[in-house]
């Protein structure tokens, strides 16, 4: 077995002297007991399983959308119990704040009046839905499912990179990765007290049922998907199957007398809760985008009347805006009176004059992102861009400075990853999933995404990223 250690950045497995960290020692010795041929055989089996089970995502921009396997690396990432405790507490603090913030933005707007966050920053966002002002969602929950991206800096500290409050995806791969690993490398799990994750669909369903407007009867929950061509369709179908709820498309639903129904072969049936995996703008052509073919005409009226719950609530996207992120430490203090438990990356805001000046002068040291985009689209990696690329990007920024934020390049942590017969360091991040229902629950672990290209910082699946199984260890005395 050959282990290559990284030149810079925090290594998840080996310390500065090249010794395995204690919680990785057992795994490393198991891996070293395998021959190269063993590993290759197992890896082939793993590929075959992914392919045959159709565990795929769809890449846009190619004819008909190409189905691809989401690459999986079998070397698991291990998080000790104490480290996880810190992450979990920080995440609960964040989702609580995000929900209070959304409640405030759509009711009294106290945080804007108190100047905690500039009003124009919120009110000008297209994710801020004026039409929803004053509307209280069932159980006052906006963010039922949140995926927060976490990275580690060169000292190994966990930092929040962004929150995803709209339709975070990836949890199906978390579950499938665990299945796959226990099938292909059963030796691994046997030697660690790994916290189980299989009950996620059950907890998700509980979370969704909790917000059903009709109390005291069996609520009808559905998962709303844009359909088979969506990049995350595999996940939609997976979660619907795991929860045992119907997967519906917009055309399956209809509004009658301010109630929502699904069309069935023998008449219609009322729907109480929609776990929607389509963006706000496409939900209802009468309320938002008129050209949307994916949504349900009149859905927002039913929601407004309180006859259906939507998870996540429409308008929640304003909370995961990249410029709102910069204000999260202040918002945590404002709503909870607490210090943030998880640090985050320093952020310069395009809409602030001083910040913009700084960004323009230090473009070669910064990562610049557009506030509205996700999935690694529309960003500039300053240190790796050519002078010309930076100039072009800056010219675009000047037209709409408020649309950009910049952050110093964080040297992401790396994790040994099996590539071409060797274990090479590749950069990783972590997306834990948090559910907000009758209480807040954090799925132990989450999706570890890995940048498979050597030297790459971009872990998004649409940009050549893969994933790993993520283990949270149970506390010793538990």
């Amino acid at each position: 077995m050959k282990w290559v250690t990284p030149k810079n950045g925090f290594d998840e497995v080996f310390d500065a002297r090249g010794r395995a960290r204690p919680h990785y020692a057992a795994l490393i010795s198991i891996l070293e007991s395998f021959t190269k041929e063993d590993v290759e055989r197992r890896e082939r089996l793993q590929q075959l399983t992914l392919r045959n089970q159709g565990i795929t995502f769809t890449v846009y921009g190619e004819k008909d959308g190409l189905e691809r396997i989401f690459p999986f690396d079998f070397v698991p990432r291990i998080i000790p119990a104490a480290e996880w405790k810190g992450i979990q507490d920080g995440l609960i603090q964040r989702i609580t704040t995000l929900n209070l913030f959304l409640s405030d933005v759509y009711q009294d707007q106290k945080c804007l009046k108190d100047g905690v966050i500039p009003a124009e920053l919120i009110l000008s966002r297209k994710e801020y839905k004026r039409a929803l002002l004053g509307l209280v969602p069932p159980r006052k929950i906006y963010t039922h499912v949140v995926g927060t991206d976490i990275i580690r800096n060169d000292r190994g500290e966990y930092l929040v990179l962004e929150d995803n409050c709209r339709v975070p995806s990836g949890v199906s791969y978390v579950l499938e990765n665990r299945n796959l690993l226990s099938r292909v490398f059963p030796e691994f799990l046997g030697s660690y007290p790994v916290r189980p994750i299989k009950d996620y669909p059950t907890l998700l369903l509980e979370t969704l049922r909790f917000v059903a407007p009709r109390r005291g009867q069996n609520p009808v929950v559905v998962l709303l998907s844009p359909g088979i061509h969506n990049s995350a369709y595999f996940e939609h179908s997976f979660l619907a199957r795991e929860m045992g709820v119907p997967l519906v498309e917009g055309r399956d639903l209809l509004v009658e007398g301010n109630h929502l129904f699904m069309r069935r072969t023998h008449g219609k049936r009322q729907v109480d809760v929609i776990y929607r995996r389509i963006d706000d703008d496409f939900l209802d052509p009468l309320a938002f985008r008129r050209d949307s073919m994916l949504g349900v005409p009149g859905l927002l009226n039913v929601y407004r009347e309180g006859n259906v719950a939507l998870a996540n609530a429409p308008g929640a996207g304003v909370a995961d805006d990249k410029s709102v992120y910069a204000y999260m430490p202040r918002l945590i203090k404002y709503y909870l009176g607490e210090e943030p438990l998880l640090p985050q990356v320093p952020t310069y805001l395009g809409h602030k004059k001083d910040d913009f000046k700084y960004i323009a002068e230090h473009l070669d040291r910064l990562v610049v992102k557009t506030t509205g985009d996700a999935g690694g689209y529309g960003m500039l990696m300053g240190p790796f861009a050519s002078t010309k690329e930076r100039e072009t990007y800056l010219a675009a920024m000047r037209k709409n400075p408020g649309n950009y934020i910049a952050q110093p390049l964080v040297e992401l942590s790396t994790h040994p990853t099996h590539i071409g017969g060797k274990f090479e360091p590749r950069r990783v991040d972590l997306r834990p999933f948090i559910l907000y229902g009758d209480r807040i629950r954090v799925l132990p672990g989450g999706l570890t995404r890995v940048a498979l290209r050597p030297g790459s910082y971009v872990v998004n699946s649409s940009q050549g990223g893969g994933s790993k199984d993520t283990w949270v260890l149970a506390p010793r005395d538990a």
């Binding site: 089970q53 072969t265 008449g267």
Partner: protein, 319 residues
């Protein structure tokens, strides 16, 4: 009760699976017949390929006629096996079955999806060059056929007998009886009139091939013995009450599924159409064949099946 879209998806998944299976089987049988008779009667081999192209009419009309039999055979083999544009190729049907399965995956089991997906992936990996070799072609088609059979087995053994299952089986049974009638309609005119001209072994080869093309040769022998009398073969293919690919059995299967889908109190429009048809087939017999009324009768069956499909689309799928 299920979503109309899901019922629609399952219905078409059933139809396309059945169509893929039919095309695979007929390709194998036609290739074999063509090889068998080629040296004796080239015209007969040519006719077999032309029939196959009429049964699965997915070839472009602009295609020039083939002078060489070998060119016709190879274009037909490739066109109906892996051609992605041909709407009746095995690949096309498998892809459609899989697309429909993906869109209603929550109504299926993992076993069903994996079997279908593996069969599709395997065929997708075949290249034209690969299939040009007859032995490889045969083994590839046999492998696809096995994959389809295990998919059907997974459907049989893992799916709950709910409304979804009924729509899947409805699609399968409707496609099956429809395709059987199309095959008969295209093959019979030549077969019936050819009797005096062709020499006897070749004549029987064709009837045997017809039975094999409908998976009926062994079942026929169980009823009538090894002797192939045209009138017996017709009687069997049209009216046998037990063979799953006879027209009578097929129509009854469609009727049974439609009856179970219909609400208890009242028969639906499609159930009425197919119910009448199934009754006709149960009471018809030899005289129809003797009186030469067989072709108009087959046309009538096709019309009624088309009406049934339209009616069920309207009633259940809202399309």
């Amino acid at each position: 009760m299920i979503l109309s879209r899901v019922a629609d998806g399952l219905y078409w998944m059933g139809r396309y699976l059945e169509r893929a299976e039919n095309a695979t089987r007929l390709l194998l049988v036609t290739e074999e017949l063509s090889t068998e008779v080629l040296g004796l009667d080239e015209e007969l081999a040519r006719a077999a390929w032309q029939d196959l192209r009429a049964i699965f009419p997915g070839f472009p009309e602009s295609e020039p006629p083939f002078r060489q039999l070998a060119a016709l055979a190879s274009a037909s083999l490739l066109g109906l096996s892996i051609d992605q544009e041909n709407r009746f190729s095995v690949f096309y049907s498998l892809k459609k079955a899989r697309d429909n399965a993906r869109s209603v995956r929550e109504a299926l089991t993992l076993e069903v999806f994996i079997n279908l997906n593996e069969t599709y992936r395997e065929l997708e990996g075949m290249s034209r060059r690969h299939l040009a070799d007859p032995a490889t072609f045969r083994s590839a088609m046999q492998s696809t056929h096995r994959g389809l059979m295990s998919t059907v087995g997974a459907i049989e053994h893992t799916l709950p007998r709910d409304a979804g299952w009924l729509f899947l089986k409805l699609g399968e049974s409707l496609e099956r009886v429809f395709r059987t009638v199309v095959i008969l309609r295209i093959k019979l005119p030549a077969l019936v009139s050819a009797e005096p001209k062709v020499d006897l072994p070749l004549f029987y080869s064709q009837w045997r091939s017809l039975l094999r093309g409908l998976s009926c040769l062994e079942n026929y022998r169980k009823v009538f013995g090894a002797r192939l009398e045209p009138i017996d073969v017709l009687q069997f293919l049209l009216f046998d009450p037990l063979s799953p690919r006879s027209v009578r059995y097929g129509a009854s299967a469609v009727k049974e599924h439609l009856d179970r889908i219909s609400s208890a109190s009242e028969l639906s429009q499609p159930a009425r159409i197919v119910g009448k048809l199934a009754a006709e087939l149960s009471y018809q017999g030899h005289d129809l064949i003797r009186d030469g009324q067989i072709l108009p009768f087959l046309d009538h069956v096709l019309t009624e099946l088309g009406r049934a499909h339209d009616a069920l689309s309207t009633v259940y799928f809202g399309t």
